[in-house]
């Protein structure tokens, strides 16, 4: 366990060192993140020209969901994109072989070796917006915040589980074009609370692609509407997806016959 923490620290150090070489890129990325955040805030403002609540969500409540969407999407760009999304090129070029030869857990190396530091800005900005908006909605307390921390962690776990599951499939299908976009599109649906969608879509968003777990449900916690049952359900689904992903990863490795060189 200790060994993995030391490795994580080394991975993080490398990522920060690389990032400091591209400082202009970092600032450009931050400005663009702020632009899209303003875009999101203004675009939902158009809805509230006509009404005070949309499907039971006021403007500041909806802003909580938008903030969490930024946070989760930032996590995808920071952690999933530079790692698991590279699976298809690992398989195609045969570099997966080198990763498998390393004397550590292969799932760990493939999942966490790199980090897009500039995308962490999105995570921070998103969390800040969500918490501040919840403050304005007037529902933030210590218990709510604790529940929220647990649920957003479960959201991140669910994101990881789904990504691992999908990207493990590339061992069989080789090309991953589309998988990353599918994932991105699925997350994009989480920009709005799941109650904005048709009942069938809403169910799919909880159980099939657990996007509701990443934005809507943690937002409910910040708004003081989460129950213990919800907490247990979210935890169960998130862990189930990660277990399924890990299982698929191991199955995939068994049938991996190496390629390239």
């Amino acid at each position: 366990m200790m060994r993995y923490l030391i490795l994580l620290r080394m991975f993080l150090g490398n990522a920060v060192r690389t990032e400091t070489e591209y400082r202009a890129d970092f600032f450009a990325h931050t400005i663009i993140s702020l632009f899209w955040l303003a875009w999101a805030g203004l675009s939902i403002g158009v809805f509230y020209r006509f009404t005070d609540t949309v499907a039971g969500w006021t403007y500041s409540q909806l802003l909580v969901v938008i903030g969490l969407f930024f946070c989760v999407n930032g996590l995808r760009q920071a952690v999933i994109q530079p790692n698991l999304s590279e699976m298809s090129s690992y398989v195609r070029q045969g570099t997966l072989d080198f990763l498998l030869l390393k004397p550590v857990n292969s799932q760990f190396v493939v999942s966490f070796r790199h980090l897009n530091v500039h995308a962490v800005v999105d995570v921070v900005i998103g969390l800040a917006v969500a918490v501040i908006a919840a403050g304005f909605a007037g529902t933030l307390g210590v218990a709510e915040f604790a529940m929220f921390l647990w649920l957003i962690t479960m959201g991140a776990v669910a994101l990881y589980g789904v990504s691992l599951l999908l990207h493990s499939l590339t061992v069989w299908i080789v090309t991953s074009i589309g998988i990353e976009h599918l994932l991105q599109a699925a997350l994009e649906v989480g920009r709005f609370p799941s109650t904005f969608y048709h009942a069938a879509v809403r169910l799919a968003l909880t159980v099939v692609v657990p996007v509701a777990l990443m934005t809507t449900i943690p937002a409910e916690a910040l708004l003081g509407r989460a129950t213990v049952n919800l907490l247990l359900m979210a935890t169960g689904i998130a862990l189930a997806f990660t277990a399924l992903g890990s299982l698929t990863w191991r199955r995939a490795l068994k049938s991996y016959t190496s390629a390239g060189g």
């Binding site: 450009a28 663009i32 632009f35 899209w36 875009w39 203004l42 675009s43 939902i44 158009v46 809805f47 020209r49 006509f50 009404t51 609540t53 949309v54 499907a55 090309t175 074009i177 589309g178 976009h181 599918l182 599109a185 994009e188 649906v189 920009r191 709005f192 109650t195 904005f196 969608y197 048709h198 879509v201």
Partner: protein
């Protein structure tokens, strides 16, 4: 005659490319789902608050199915392709060829729109047939005008991209600028909301900008929402912007191309 042969060759290569990379088809079709997210928000709003500016749920569904289709045809990946070529240095090779590189991009744009479009249009027709509330015009004349508007929108989308590529002789960050402009454009194009839902002042400005000509205008035409003078204005705006962007591109290219210093290798 030479240009006919040229385009026949370029188009054949582009279509072959678009058909081979079928994985990309998924990307294009997933992109068509994004407008439906906006649609869901408006549907729940109308469900709660009733008609907004006279728009019903059926109108909203018809509108956003149209937006998904039109957006695919008028969107252009030119700036993305161009940035890749500048960064990797493959533009240097393109510039040495006796043919202006824009012709190859025109052929690519046509193939990239046509191949996924051949899947998207039947799907959209199927949806409008399955959902009885979806209602477009029955007039063949309006449909002909809609097709024309989509073609003009596609030309305009490509030309706006072309202006940004010409700017790349001065800055390598055109991708970011293009994205910011596109992002701001979504407010007045009809992406976030049909522009009929905005206050009259914003609506007037929006009808004169190129973004609406590329998205909301063709859809509103197909829905039979526009009167004669609005149709005239729409086409006038589209054609004017095509002329402006075309001229601007030619001018920038002439000044900028000699400045180009090759990157990559």
């Amino acid at each position: 005659m030479r240009s006919v042969t040229l385009y026949r060759g370029l188009l054949r290569a582009s279509f072959a490319g678009a058909l081979v990379y079928r994985g990309q088809l998924v990307i294009f079709l997933v992109g068509a789902l994004f407008p439906l997210i906006m649609m869901s928000a408006w549907l729940s709003l109308i469900g709660d608050a009733g008609l907004v500016s006279g728009w019903s749920k059926a109108d909203t569904v018809s509108y956003y199915i149209g937006v998904a289709v039109v957006n695919h045809f008028t969107y252009s990946l030119l700036v993305e392709h161009w940035e890749d070529e500048v960064r990797t240095g493959s533009l240097n090779v393109q510039l040495m060829r006796p043919v202006h590189p824009i012709h190859r991009h025109v052929a690519e744009h046509i193939a990239e729109r046509a191949v996924p479009g051949a899947v998207l249009v039947p799907v959209a027709i199927l949806f409008s047939w399955l959902i009885p509330a979806v209602d477009y015009t029955n007039s063949a004349g309006l449909w002909a005008l809609t097709v024309l508007a989509v073609v003009l929108g596609s030309v305009l989308g490509f030309l706006i991209g072309a202006v940004f590529t010409a700017l790349s002789f001065w800055t390598t960050r055109v991708g970011h600028i293009d994205m910011l402009v596109w992002g701001m454009g979504t407010f007045v194009s009809g992406w976030i909301a049909p522009i009929a839902l905005f206050p009259p002042a914003i609506r007037d400005v929006a009808t004169l900008l190129p973004f609406h000509a590329m998205l909301g205008f063709p859809v509103e035409l197909a829905m039979g929402k526009l009167d004669g003078s609005q149709i005239m204005t729409g086409f006038g705006v589209a054609l004017s912007w095509i002329a402006v962007c075309g001229l601007l591109y030619a001018l920038l290219w002439r000044i900028g191309a000699p400045k180009y210093e090759a990157l990559g290798g």
